[in-house]
Each structure stands twice: as structure tokens, then as C-alpha cells.
Symmetry: C2
Subunit: 110 residues, 2 copies
């Protein structure tokens, strides 16, 4: 639909997905919708970014996928966090907090 006013900051998508999956397994499309709803569309998740990101994260061992079935019996790919992914989530959360704090020092200095 309306394209995102500005692209997502590089690196934030992984964190967003990791955190979303920490709530429980979800399929790709639902991850995107959940992030957009939660942020009232401030953060848009384009499918062209999402699926390659899911593939990368799977290769890194942060998430795994299993085939499941939608309510209509259609095959859907369910993603879930691995132990490694949980550790990565903690690391990336901490890094994000550090970046936000550092940015705040520059943007609103004493």
C-alpha cells in the first residue's frame, strides 16, 4: 500500500523479528502484520525485506521453520526461536539500548 516514508534502519528488522517470535511461533506474514499493528504502521515490514531476512536468520541458526497448516488447511511456514536466537535477542536488545542512549547524548546533551 502506501510505501514506508523512510526505510527501516538497517539491522532493526532482525531485532524486531526476534522479539516478535519470543512471544511464540508465528508464520512470516503474521510477524509482519503484528509489528505493523503494534507500532500503528510507524514501522512497516515489506515482504521483500521480510522473507530474505527470515532466510538469513535461519542460516545463522537464530530461528527455525516447520511446515504447518493454516485454519483453512493450507500449508504455512511456522517460524520459532532457537536457543541461539534467544541469546541473539538479548545481545541485540542490549546493543539497541546502547545505541539509543548514545544517540540521546548527542541529540539532547546536558
Amino acid at each position: 500500500m502506501t510505501p514506508p516514508s523512510r526505510p527501516l534502519l538497517q539491522g532493526t528488522l532482525d531485532l524486531l523479528v526476534l522479539r516478535t517470535l519470543a512471544w511464540g511461533p508465528r508464520h512470516g506474514y503474521a510477524i509482519a502484520r503484528w509489528i505493523e499493528e503494534t507500532t500503528h504502521d510507524v514501522l512497516r515490514v515489506e515482504e521483500g525485506s521480510l522473507y530474505p531476512a527470515l532466510y538469513r536468520m535461519q542460516k545463522k541458526g537464530w530461528i527455525r521453520s516447520d511446515w504447518g497448516e493454516s485454519e483453512l488447511g493450507k500449508p504455512i511456514r511456522i517460524y520459532s526461536l532457537t536457543v541461539k536466537g534467544r541469546a541473539e535477542l538479548r545481545a541485540q536488545s542490549a546493543h539497541w539500548d546502547a545505541v539509543v542512549a548514545a544517540m540521546a547524548k548527542v541529540l539532547r546533551p546536558a
Copy 2:
């Protein structure tokens, strides 16, 4: 020296530079040092990122540069904010705040 643990988030460098120049004109090298000192090296500004960024921002009319002299009489390029740059700073600050708030909703939901 020690390379940055993680690259700067794409798009944040412009905001950082804009905000630094809002304090007053500075030359490129000093902009980088100021950001690194202020954030205690959490945010590293590599010169290979900085100078192309300054060039881009100048092309966009956000900043302008004039030749000046260092204390030792050597030519240095002094950058300063334009009126357009000041507006851009406000816009990017607001956007950054919105992104941080949106990220917080996903990372630490009610």
C-alpha cells in the same frame, strides 16, 4: 584503530552530523571526534563514511562548506548548517523519536 563492533545504523549519521553542526560550524574531522567523545566511542564515525556523507548533505543543501584556516595556518574545510539543514534536523529528530518509540512498543510491550 579498533574497528566498530557494529556499523552505525543506516541513516543515523546524517542526523548525528546535523545535530553536531547545530552547535556551530566545525570541520569534518572535529565532527567525528565530537560524536565519538560525546558517546564515549559507542558511536564510531569512520572517515570513509563521514566525508561521503558530508558531500551528500551538501548536495542536498543541508550544509555548506567554506575554506578556513586551522590554528597552524593550514587550510581546513568548515561546515555549517543551512536553513534547509535546520529544518531537516527537526524532521529527522522527530522521525528518530518516532522510531525509538515504535521500537519500544515492540521490545517492551504493555
